[in-house]
Each structure stands twice: as structure tokens, then as C-alpha cells.
Symmetry: C2
Subunit: 192 residues, 2 copies
């Protein structure tokens, strides 16, 4: 048997989120997740160190895509235009599975303090990654921090709206994150 | 012996931060913290459920002060003026002990993922508390979220500058959080 199982990672995530929804996070074991996915426990551990990491394992991938999008934005792009490019880069990588899992993942996270903490640190890490990518473009530190926070907020708001929208809608995630960033930019002129 | 020990809470925090700095968070036990503070373990548990909570126990107090400051800001205050009032309210409650402990607490948090996660959730909670207080004043949701994030960022930046400044400086924390908020407001006009 090959060590590499096609689609194994995604199957494990789907199985875990199903089980967390059905019986709660605490009551779910790695063995149950593997069984539901039709895989062995040792296959699980080739992808994730534990069930906790599973829910947030996409973080580094997402951060990497954001940073790449920001880095390759045109040299004359404003800080927020660069953030918009980062959001497009990460949004384009997310498809129907992510859309469907979103609300269930959020429910699992909302029900468990340990997961909330892990998720909060994930957000901090993603905002920091955006900030560093902007500083690398020559953006001043405070402006970069603010733009990083706006980018993270736009990602969260856009992702929530996308997964709550009518599933037959043609709009992809990039549409929603871009609209959220525009809304935040408009809101910043109303801060006083 | 009275169950209430004057200054016990603060002594426990100071002792814990000293021990975390000297020997690391993982190696420090509740018994050691209590001993260093000249108190018993059972006194420790009257104030904190465990050593992890100790570092972030001030969160609810801080959130409460911010919310109160935002709530009592003049009716015609802009969202950011209300946030500034919240920051003043929380900053005025912090004195020399907080200033001195700040850098050591940050070092302890930076050295431990578990504490980073707890701290990240604390920041999320404080930003959410500010957002809710603004929504209660009639501020639109997106504007309130943005103002809440700005307030949290200003609090962190201001606190860091305060604890790193020359200790003989006359400026209190409110000076630094207010300057940080002004800087963020100026930065928001450079986002593009």
C-alpha cells in the first residue's frame, strides 16, 4: 500500500468536522476520525499531529498564499491594493469543500475554548504574515499593521458571507473578501 | 486567619512572572508561585483556577473598563472618540506595577505557545467587547468592528511603548495609547 493516499487529507478534515458536529469535539477520537474517513490511525498521523491541529492545519498554506499575493502586487500598488491582491490569491485557492465546511468548522470552534484559542492565534499569525509582507514592500510599520488587521477582518467577514450565501450564487470567495475590504475602507472614513 | 489577604492577588502575579522569567513557564508550579508570594496553595486557588489563567486574569477587568469608558463618552462622540474614551478609562487604572510587569509578561507569553493562544483569545475578546459597546451606541457593525480592532491595536502599541519608555518619564499609559490611536488614525489615510 502506498503511503500517499489521494485525497486523504481532505477526507480526514471532512470526517472530523462531521464528527465534531454530531458528537462534539471532546468526545471525538483520532481513531473515529480515521475510521469515518476509511483510513488508518497511522495515516491520520502522517497528516496531522493531533485532532486539534486538524482544524487549523490550513493556516500556513493560507498565510503563504496571502504573502505571495502581496509580494507580487504591482510596485505602485497602495498598501490596501496589495492586501486585496493577497486576499485574491488566497480566495482563489478555496473551493466548494471549503465553503461547505466553513459554518460547521465555526460551530465546532465556537463550542470549544481550546479551539477558540488556537483559532485566535491563527488569526494573529495571519495578520502578522500580511504585515511582514507589507513591510517588505516598504510600507511603514503602523500602516502595515493596520492594513494587515483590515485584511484579516476582510477575510473573516468575506468567508462568513460566502459560506452563508445562497449556494447557487455564482460569486466565489474572492468576490466576498473584495467586497468586505471595500466596506472596511469605506467604514474607515466614518471613524471620526 | 482571614480568607482575604490584602494584596495577595498582585503578589501572586508578581511572583509568577518572576518565576516564569527565571525558570520558564512549564517548569513553574502553583506551589512555587504561592511560596514565592509568601502564601499557601489554597490561597492561590482562591484567586486563580490555574497558573495559565493568572497571566490573563486581568482581561475581564480591562474589558469592563473599556466598555464603561465607551458607554459614558458624550453622545456626539465619533466612534474613534468613544474608543479613545475607553482607552483612557482602562489606561488610568494601570500603574507602575503593570508597567514593570509588562515586558516580563510578554517574554513569558512569547516563550510558550499555550500562553500565546490564551493571549490571542484575550485580544479577540477585548476587541469584541469594544465592538459591542460601540454597536450599543448606534455605530454600524462594520465601522464598530474596525474601531474595535483599532482600539485593541492602540492599546497593545501604547502599552508596549509605555513599558519600554524611560521609567522616569512623566507620561502615563493614557498618553501612549492616545498617541498610538492618533498614529493609527493617520495611518488609515495612507492605506490607499
Amino acid at each position: 500500500m502506498s503511503r500517499w493516499q489521494p485525497g486523504a487529507r481532505e477526507r480526514l478534515v471532512v470526517a472530523a468536522v462531521e464528527l465534531f458536529t454530531e458528537q462534539g469535539y471532546d468526545a471525538t477520537t483520532v481513531a473515529q476520525i480515521a475510521e469515518r474517513a476509511g483510513l488508518t490511525k497511522s495515516t491520520f498521523f502522517r497528516y496531522f499531529p493531533d485532532k486539534r491541529e486538524l482544524l487549523v492545519a490550513g493556516q500556513e498554506t493560507l498565510s503563504g498564499l496571502m504573502v505571495e499575493g502581496i509580494a507580487v502586487a504591482p510596485a505602485d500598488a497602495s498598501p490596501l491594493e496589495a492586501v486585496a491582491a493577497g486576499l485574491r490569491s488566497v480566495s482563489d485557492a478555496m473551493g466548494p469543500v471549503n465553503r461547505e465546511l466553513g459554518p460547521r468548522m465555526r460551530a465546532a470552534i465556537a463550542a470549544n475554548t481550546e479551539l477558540q484559542e488556537r483559532d485566535a492565534l491563527k488569526s494573529v499569525g495571519m495578520a502578522a504574515a500580511m504585515t511582514s509582507a507589507l513591510v517588505a514592500r516598504g510600507v511603514a510599520s503602523t500602516t502595515a499593521q493596520l492594513a494587515g488587521e483590515l485584511g484579516m477582518l476582510a477575510f473573516k467577514l468575506g468567508y462568513t458571507e460566502w459560506s452563508e450565501a445562497d449556494p447557487t450564487s455564482e460569486h466565489d470567495l474572492a468576490h466576498y473578501t473584495s467586497a468586505a475590504l471595500d466596506e472596511l475602507r469605506a467604514a474607515s472614513s466614518r471613524l471620526g
